[in-house]
């Protein structure tokens, strides 16, 4: 029951805190310090790694794909002249011109429909939403046209389109601007859905999405754009892609599997380190990378090793990605589980504006740590 609402103990940290003013960048949203942990996972030529923000990685992916394929173009509100609302498309207009990088009027229905039409006619559009909340205005084009036309047309009309933009909650933008659409798009046959965490994820998955002949939804996260990650030498090359449908073990462990995605990957790694320090347990963190298709093999392989499962996501709890993972784990890995699988999710409430309530609406490192410790019967 109380898993839907954050445990009351968390009130302690918020209620007693003196809140003089809402800081422009609330401390709650400070990036998790995972850069150090990240480096370990890159065995190949650490000397060649370079620091990238997620924003730079996305920008590089777009530039490389625009360069490589004349059929690719980028379209969205303020993507050209203004360099993108979050500067992801910075410099692309200057480099590729206004036929490849296109500003649109404020009509999501209009430009999404246009992009889908262009894709159905053989081009490879990258359709940017200022946030995926705004894609609600045009979701019919994504779900009913982009996802289904290949099937409905008897296979004669492929739709090679990429929908991308920030997804999930940001800071202080309340209910109508703070939603996670992973479960929405993940439920639609015909769509592929990816959700990057690190700079490598962002670059490799976006490039894979653009090259994939199907409609792919790339769910980014606004709070991750400015975060810095080391990028391996291989990932800096223009032929780097990450296969859609493959998860990645970000941190190996033997006691508990945390399956997570997007920003929650970093939070889970921090929680895993804390659990190791406090209790000496080793938590495996599986970065899902791809929501649909989902890497069931990787999940089951990890459960076979750890025998315990917890999912961490920032979406709503009901009918969510976590629910899907738990269902799959129980269907295919029941005999390997030593404890009931658990979900850590966003709260079942329209995202409040008030900072204290907002903090309680989404998973934090402490909350992940706490729930994992309970699952492992450490507290």
């Amino acid at each position: 029951m109380s898993r839907y609402l954050r445990p009351a103990v968390r009130l302690a940290s918020t209620a007693s805190r003196v809140q003089v003013a809402r800081p422009a960048a609330p401390t709650f949203f400070k990036p998790a310090s995972v850069a150090g942990l990240q480096k370990r996972t890159y065995a190949d030529a650490p000397s060649g790694t370079k620091d990238y923000t997620v924003r730079d990685a996305l920008n590089e992916a777009l530039a490389e794909e625009l360069e490589a394929n004349p059929k690719v173009f980028v379209m969205g509100e303020e993507v050209a002249q203004y360099n993108g609302a979050y500067k992801v498309t910075k410099g692309l207009l200057d480099r590729f011109g206004d036929k490849r990088v296109i500003d649109t009027p404020i009509t999501e229905m209009g430009f999404t429909g246009l992009a889908v039409g262009a894709a159905l006619s053989g081009l490879h559009p990258v359709c940017e939403f200022m946030t995926f909340n705004f894609a609600m205005q045009s979701i019919d084009h994504i779900v009913n046209s982009a996802a289904k036309t290949l099937y409905m047309s008897g296979g004669i009309q492929p739709c090679n389109i990429t929908f991308r933009g920030p997804n999930g909650f940001a800071a202080g933008v309340a209910a109508q601007h703070s939603q996670d659409y992973s479960a929405w798009y993940g439920s639609v046959p015909g769509l592929k859905v990816v959700s990057p965490w690190s700079a490598e994820d962002a670059k490799g998955l976006l490039k894979a999405a653009i090259r994939d002949p199907n409609p792919v939804v790339v769910l980014e996260n606004e709070l991750m754009y400015g975060q810095v990650f080391p990028m391996s030498e291989a990932a800096q090359k223009d032929d780097f892609v990450i296969p859609i449908g493959k998860a990645k073990v970000e941190r190996a462990g033997k006691d508990l599997t945390i399956v997570t995605m997007s920003r929650c990957v970093g939070q889970s790694i921090v929680a895993a380190e804390a659990l190791k320090k406090k209790y000496g347990v080793e938590v495996e963190v599986l970065n899902l990378r791809s929501i649909k298709p989902i890497d069931l093999d990787a999940i089951i392989a990890s459960i076979k090793k750890t025998h315990r499962l917890m999912t961490v996501e920032s979406g709503f709890p009901a009918y969510g990605v976590g629910a899907e993972i738990v269902a799959l784990a129980v269907e295919y890995g029941f005999d390997y589980l030593d404890a009931p699988p658990q979900r850590v999710t966003g709260a079942d409430v329209p995202t409040p504006y008030a900072q204290g309530l907002e903090e309680m609406s989404f998973p934090t490192e402490a909350l992940i740590e706490n729930h994992a410790a309970k699952l492992l019967k450490l507290i």
Binding site: V173, A175, P352
Partner: protein
């Protein structure tokens, strides 16, 4: 049982079931089935006004010179094949009553307000402009997360709102502080919302500037763009039905505000079309301020502004100088009258202004427009300066009064500001309320759990910041 596809069910307590009425001449009986009926045999027969036009009644007469197709009943036949070119038509004119020097240019214009009333409305415009500056800076200091200013659009909002009745229903986009102020939203009301304290009617759940007021008949602002427009058509339709059922209710209209950027959304088109076809008494007021965040109008549309679209939908339309308080007021007054004619119909007003301010505190507009452009506009013409010139020419305003007014407004704003900042946060209980109309058993259980926890560890929590402390959780 079989349900008919479009059964006329009881929509809400607001609407009583339609009964045969004497003032509706065209009535056709149709069978409807009450939503509570469980068998088809008990279907009742009622009469509802028909709005259906039967195509068969429009059949072409032999040798007619006019088209009688059902889709265009007044079109003359032509033997020359001509495509209409929008560029061959003049742009629709922009009505002004007072020019930028404060001189009356419409000879038929007569101010219908007393000196005190004009000064009050000027005061509203000044208040909004000063509050905007203060709150923009407050956001920059990190005292609130977000703010939107409305510099350059004070006359559109205050002028149009002043011509509405307080009973009229208003839908805003997000830049209509002037409408709220004119209708009686106090400085404390603004500040309580901005600081999300316990006096905020939104209970701290909304972003700043998402004001709303039940008393003032203003729907709470919603973030997604243009959704207010079809909803405004619907609200206007409800008012129309209400009056059909009870003609003693005073006639009311809905006023819906939006920017020219929002008019690119599909909702705008849906709203105008349905309002026109259903005869909804709605006044659509477009603030065409030249920019939609960074997108200039040149890239927003190619036609003659927003006004030209009204004509396409068969809607009475006017374009007005949005910097001219008097023109906006006169136009809105007339639009309201028109909207109530013929049983109700929509009217479109396009008020031309210039967005002097940045889009919001998240925007730096000098990245996409020259600072000199903005400075030019400010100098050339602005709504506050223009009304001031008119008032000075009339001898009811001067430099001293201006200075006094500005000083006192500033003081009042800062007072409301610091008061609101000090107010308590909403009661803890509000954290559980309003996701659903009633508290669900799960939420009740969570509330109980929280109360027990707080009872058990009273030393652990400082609840003094919250309205009513933990008592709000009891029952």
């Amino acid at each position: 049982m079989k349900r008919i596809a479009r059964s006329t069910q009881r929509p809400s307590s607001l609407l009583r079931p339609l009964t045969p009425s004497t003032h509706q001449p065209r009535l056709v009986p149709i069978a409807i089935q009450s939503s509570k009926t469980t068998t088809t045999t008990t279907a009742t027969t009622q009469t509802v006004p028909s709005s259906r036009r039967h195509a068969s009644s429009l059949s072409q007469r032999p040798d007619s010179s006019h088209v009688m197709f059902p889709g265009a009943v007044k079109s003359a036949f032509s033997n020359s094949m001509t495509f209409e070119e929008p560029s061959k038509y003049d742009a629709l004119p922009t009505y002004r009553a007072v020019d930028q020097h404060g001189q009356v240019v419409d000879p038929s214009f007569k101010p219908d307000l007393s000196d005190e009333e004009v000064i009050k409305l000027y005061h509203d415009m000044l208040t909004v402009s000063i509050m905007d500056l203060i709150m923009f800076d407050a956001q920059r200091q990190g005292r609130l997360s977000f703010y939107m200013v409305s510099a350059g659009e004070e006359a559109v909002c205050v002028g149009s709102a002043s011509a509405l009745s307080s009973e009229d229903v208003v839908f805003c986009q997000y830049r209509e502080q002037g409408v709220f102020k004119q209708r009686g939203f106090t400085l404390s009301d603004f500040m309580n919302q901005l600081f999300a304290n316990h006096k905020d009617p939104g209970k701290g759940r909304n972003m700043p500037v998402h004001y709303g007021s039940k008393e003032l008949n203003i729907h709470t602002i919603s973030s997604p763009l243009a959704t207010q427009l079809p909803q405004a058509s619907g609200a206007a339709y409800a008012l129309k039905i209400q009056r059909m059922q009870n003609p003693t209710v005073p006639p009311r209209v809905v006023a819906a505000y939006f920017g020219e950027g929002a008019a690119s959304e599909g909702d705008f088109h849906a709203a105008l079309n349905i309002a026109a076809t259903r005869g909804c008494p709605a006044v659509f007021i477009c603030r065409n301020n030249g920019y939609a965040i960074s997108t200039p109008t040149l890239e927003q549309y190619r036609g003659d502004g927003i006004a030209s679209r009204g004509l396409g939908y068969g809607i009475d339309t006017i374009r007005v100088d949005g910097n001219d308080f008097w023109a906006v007021r006169e136009v809105t007054k007339r639009a309201r009258e028109l909207a109530l004619q013929d049983g109700g119909k929509p009217v479109l007003i396009e008020a031309m202004t210039y967005r002097v301010s940045h889009h919001s505190t998240s925007d730096d507009s000098f990245a996409y427009r020259a600072k000199v452009e903005v400075e030019d506009w400010k100098r050339r013409d602005n709504p506050i300066g223009r009304l001031r010139k008119w008032m000075e020419a009339k001898g009811i305003w001067d430099e001293n009064k201006e200075r006094e007014a500005r000083d006192s407004i500033r003081r009042e704003i800062l007072k409301a500001f610091s008061q609101a900042e000090k107010e308590k946060k909403p009661a803890i209980r509000t954290m559980f309320e309003d996701v659903y109309e009633e508290l669900t058993p799960e939420i009740k259980a969570q509330m109980k759990e929280l109360k027990e926890h707080l009872d058990q560890f009273p030393e652990e929590y400082d609840l003094g910041d919250f309205d009513g402390g933990k008592d709000s959780l009891a029952k």
